[in-house]
Symmetry: C2
Subunit: 103 residues, 2 copies
DNA sequence: AATATTCATCGTAATATTGCGATATTAAAA
DNA sequence: TTTTAATATCGCAATATTACGATGAATATT
């Protein structure tokens, strides 16, 4: 089928898996790492940095934005993305909680 | 295309994303949670527990096994799966290291 | 005003994932 | 030895993801 049977699982299991899925791509990992290490959050740089097409990068940014992990603010001509630190703490907490639950 | 351009990213970024992808499914999360909470690691129970078809559960187990996270040992008629604790520590370490790298 | 730059979105193609029935395979049980 | 039970694997269908070119919308530059 290709569709995950979310109804079989708990709210929390679904939420966690959705979150992990967003992080489970090297481009999105690279974007987060770059945004973390670059104080003034740059955007077009990412296209250069990653070597992916602009449309593709934009798509990855959208996924991160929809998960609430990053935020964009308009800065004249440019869009300035940066990590939502508060939300990231939440994300971190949820994942770490799962990790330590296992063993 | 649908194919991730792994060559654009570092070994570590690829390794991490592969790991996260394995965890990014509610059924596999549920399996790990069940194996963690059930001392004698049971298998067919999972089919009942999850409500997915046997073939589907078997597939998810395979994914976890290939990632080295669980191990199966033959126990007469049954296959007995349990978490590879040592490997799980490694997995945990890698993910946590990434999480704290960001913010 | 005309042009250039930045970014989002649409449409599309290629590939991956999810799920399951059917069918092996293997070992216990009858 | 036949049957039953437990798993794995194959093959397929449905859906999701990844990637990109083309295009559009908005602002900056000339």
């Amino acid at each position: 089928m290709g569709i995950t049977k979310s109804n079989l699982f708990s709210e929390e299991q679904n939420r966690l898996s959705t979150l992990l899925k967003v992080l489970a791509h090297p481009a999105r990992i690279a974007i987060l790492q770059h945004l973390a290490s670059t104080p003034g959050c740059i955007n077009t740089d990412l296209v250069q940095e990653l070597g992916l097409a602009q449309a593709t990068v934009s798509q990855h940014l959208k996924a991160l934005k929809e998960a609430g992990i990053i935020q964009g603010s308009i800065e004249g001509n440019c869009l300035c993305y940066c990590i939502d630190t508060e939300r990231w703490q939440e994300v971190k907490q949820q994942i770490m909680s799962f990790l330590s639950e296992i063993a």
